[in-house]
């Protein structure tokens, strides 16, 4: 086993941190939350120039064949900087969908994404999907689509949507692509917890030509599932990045905040809290390393078990770190003025997308056969 980063990986991580320290800040974040401008053209261009758009994708598709671990370094740096620039939502997720569809049409779209020519968002979930991607009431019938998708990231700022739906005739799942501008596509959006925007998209007799249908049948479900699994690991990385920053800032605060004539870090209970955070962070990081490696294996049950165990663990431990960071700060921790409360929201947000703890616990049990055993015991 080797847990060391290669020199390329060190450079990648350092350059991501450097880019963020020079181009992002808490003030920029404060302007960004809730605004209609989540995709900032200047920073988008810089991320493109840094090669981030191509990193997650294979060389055949015009990418740089970065590993899941490589990409996680970027997600982690973004999380550490509290950046809500939607790299994962609007580059990696739609891009991975296109890559996993793996057809000449999808590849052509992917090229436009990697080149920064066009922007995309993924429309996977219905409002009542909870976390089950298989469930959708967006229906294609006689070349016409009707239905509604929810939780579409920054829909007001992208050119195209890649949408998960099904055919009326035989219930087959499909993935199709459509321009947001197209007639028959309407959306409403609102701010969500991390400060970015999310939309509800309604298809009202949208006419869909065959060239817009990217994938049909179990391949469509598999592509969507794999793409979501991939970004789930990145969200775990972002959670750890954010938790690292929250921990470090809290440790710093405990050394300077004085009450009762001494710094609060001298109280044993505060020391133990901080030690718990420190230790949990190591554990969470270990899970991330595990998931970036095992999450990329071919065997679906194995990779999903790895990814779900990581997310399930982090939803508990990293959320607890964020809560503790607030508690140690006292009153200032619950204000909009200080970044600590924002890290807490950022982490909570990530803990609730693409599967929460319950969802990933069940999936872990299914993929490892634990569920069967429980049934067997109950029957006995």
């Amino acid at each position: 086993m080797d847990f060391n980063l290669s020199s390329e990986q060190k450079m990648l991580g350092d350059s991501a941190k450097r880019y963020l320290s020079q181009n992002y800040s808490f003030d920029i974040y404060l302007d960004q939350i809730g605004s209609n401008m989540q995709i900032n053209p200047e920073r988008w261009q810089k991320m493109l120039d840094l090669g981030w758009f191509g990193l997650p994708f294979s060389e055949e598709n015009g990418g740089f064949s970065g590993s899941l671990f490589d990409v996680s370094l970027i997600a982690r740096a973004l999380g550490e900087a509290l950046s809500i620039d939607p790299y994962v939502d609007n580059i990696v997720l739609p891009g991975k969908l296109l890559e996993f569809i793996s057809s000449p049409t999808a590849d052509a779209w992917l090229k436009k994404l990697i080149d920064g020519e066009r922007t995309f968002s993924a429309a996977i979930y219905d409002v009542d999907s909870h976390y089950d991607i298989n469930h959708t009431n967006v229906i294609l019938e006689d070349g016409v689509v009707n239905g509604q998708k929810s939780f579409v990231s920054n829909v007001g700022e992208v050119d195209y949507l890649i949408c998960y739906a099904r055919e009326a005739s035989d219930e087959q799942p499909i993935l199709f692509i459509v321009a947001v501008e197209e007639e028959g596509v309407e959306y409403k959006d609102c701010r969500v917890l991390n400060g970015s925007r999310s939309g509800v998209v309604t298809f009202n007799n949208l006419e869909l030509t065959n060239d817009k249908i990217l994938c049909v049948g179990s391949d469509a479900t598999a592509a969507a599932q794999r793409a979501i699994d991939y970004v789930t690991v990145l969200e775990c990385a972002a959670m750890i990045g954010a938790a690292t920053a929250a921990y470090e800032k809290t440790l710093e605060y405990a050394k300077i905040r004085k009450q009762f004539g001494t710094h609060i870090g001298s109280f044993q209970v505060i020391q133990h809290y901080l030690v718990d955070m420190f230790v949990e962070l190591q554990q969470a990081e270990s899970m991330l390393f595990m998931a970036t490696d095992k999450g990329a294996v071919k065997d679906v049950a194995e990779s999903q078990a790895a990814i779900s165990s990581c997310k399930a663990y982090l939803c508990k431990s990293v959320v607890a770190i964020a809560q503790q960071a607030i508690q140690i700060h006292g009153g200032i921790g619950v204000t909009e003025e200080l970044d600590i409360g924002h890290y807490f929201r950022f982490i909570t947000h990530l803990s609730l997308i693409h599967g929460d703890r319950d969802f990933h616990m069940s999936r872990y049990m299914k993929r490892t056969g634990l569920e069967d055993k429980i049934c067997a015991v109950n029957m006995a």
């Binding site: 089950d132 701010r191 917890l193 209970v269 809560q323 006292g330 009153g331 909009e336 609730l352 703890r357």
Partner: protein
């Protein structure tokens, strides 16, 4: 042991239910049931409705305009109130400064301030904490210097809830800096309209404005506004801390939150069914109900002992700690069980279910409940020292 309400208590419960069903305004009910915050107008409207019925200052003795209820009656009222979708009342007048006034103030002061509190007409806020005096409250620096028949107040308070609504603020101020810290503190009532007071908003992570900084710049306060004697402020503050233990656990509202969670789960579509079909969700509800039960019966014990005139027993000491922890757990469960629906922040139309859409703000705000009113770490320090003798 008898763990049932008596017949008279059941009768009382019915009266309360029927009054509430006729008197909680629909707009207030709707907002409260959605978990939304009330603005000043609605909050005060509800408090004035209670005030005109004589049910606002529920802990007060009859002679000062309270209903003269015992702790069990107060508990019953509180549970029914929450069930009816009515908000809790602002604590600053009724639960804090009111009891200070009728325990420590002179007759003139009682006549002057109590009626406005009982009726809900005067809104109060609490000026204790300062930037460098949070947990270590006795280090407060805001000074009050006597000049003739006035105090001249200078300094800054922070985290002052509802200072932007309030007509009056009760403050701990330093009147003597030559004696031991605790002994130089006095309890002063200040009209928020006095020149020299400036209120600046602080926004909380639920996106709302509850908190403020309050600056005092040569603020002139008549000496008649001093409660008790100079130097008695710390004694009064300590009295206040131990005064009200029967509602501090927040049992009634937490109970209602769990009901709201069940309602939301049953009314949120998920796949071909509803969220309630998920056994993990129901198990989580069961866990919360059991935790609540432990708190509720501990609370009953406290209530029963004070009704019998006994001093508060050790069982009451953990109420604030357990109560606030449970408030946080329930709000976290609502957010987590709503899943993606809980991410919505400022939508006007429901996304899936408005109860889940609104849950996140409350979850965010409630991170503060283990901080305000003395942090849970400080509560534990106090219990360790006072009760366990450590």
């Amino acid at each position: 042991m008898n763990l049932e309400f008596s017949d008279t208590e059941k009768e009382f419960q019915k009266d309360v239910q029927s009054w509430l069903s006729d008197n909680v305004p629909a707009d207030i009910q709707e907002k409260t049931q959605n978990g939304e915050m009330l603005d000043k107008t609605l909050q005060q409207k509800w408090e004035q409705i209670l005030g005109s019925k004589g049910w606002l200052a529920t802990t007060w003795p009859k002679q000062y305009g309270g209903p003269g209820w015992n702790a069990t009656q107060r508990y019953i009222f509180d549970v029914e109130r929450a069930k009816a979708g009515a908000p809790g009342t602002s604590p600053f007048g009724v639960s804090m400064v009111g009891p200070v006034i009728f325990n420590f103030a002179n007759q003139e002061q009682k006549d002057r301030w109590l009626p406005g509190i009982v009726s809900g007409d005067t809104l109060w806020c609490q000026g204790y904490s300062e930037p460098n005096a949070g947990s270590d409250l006795a280090s407060l620096k805001t000074s009050a210097k006597k000049e003739g028949d006035e105090y001249i107040v200078n300094g800054q308070k922070i985290w002052t809830t509802q200072a932007h609504w309030a007509d009056m603020i009760f403050c701990l101020v330093r009147t003597d800096s030559t004696v031991k810290k605790q002994q130089g503190i006095s309890f002063l009532l200040i009209d928020m309209n006095t020149p020299g007071i400036e209120v600046r908003a602080i926004h909380s992570i639920d996106g709302h404005h509850h908190l403020n900084e309050v600056y005092f710049n040569d603020v002139r306060v008549p000496v008649e506004n001093l409660v008790g004697q100079e130097g008695m402020g710390w004694t009064i503050a300590k009295f206040l801390l131990t005064h009200e233990r029967t509602t501090i656990a927040g049992v009634a509202d937490t109970k209602q939150e769990i009901e709201r969670l069940k309602h939301a789960l049953k009314n949120t579509r998920s796949g071909s069914g509803v969220r309630w079909d998920d056994p993990q969700a129901r198990r989580r509800v069961a866990e919360l109900e059991i935790d609540l039960m432990a708190l509720e019966y501990t609370n009953f014990r406290t209530v029963a002992s004070t009704d019998n005139g006994n001093p508060l027993g050790p069982e009451s000491s953990g109420l604030k700690i357990k109560g606030t922890e449970l408030q946080q757990q329930v709000s976290q469960a609502i957010v987590e069980l709503g899943g993606p629906l809980s991410l919505a922040w400022d939508n006007k139309e429901a996304i899936g279910n408005m109860e889940f859409n609104k849950a996140t703000r409350r979850y965010n705000f409630l991170r503060a409940c283990t901080i305000y009113g003395g942090t849970n770490e400080i509560q534990k320090n106090v219990i360790a020292k006072m009760l366990l003798g450590l």
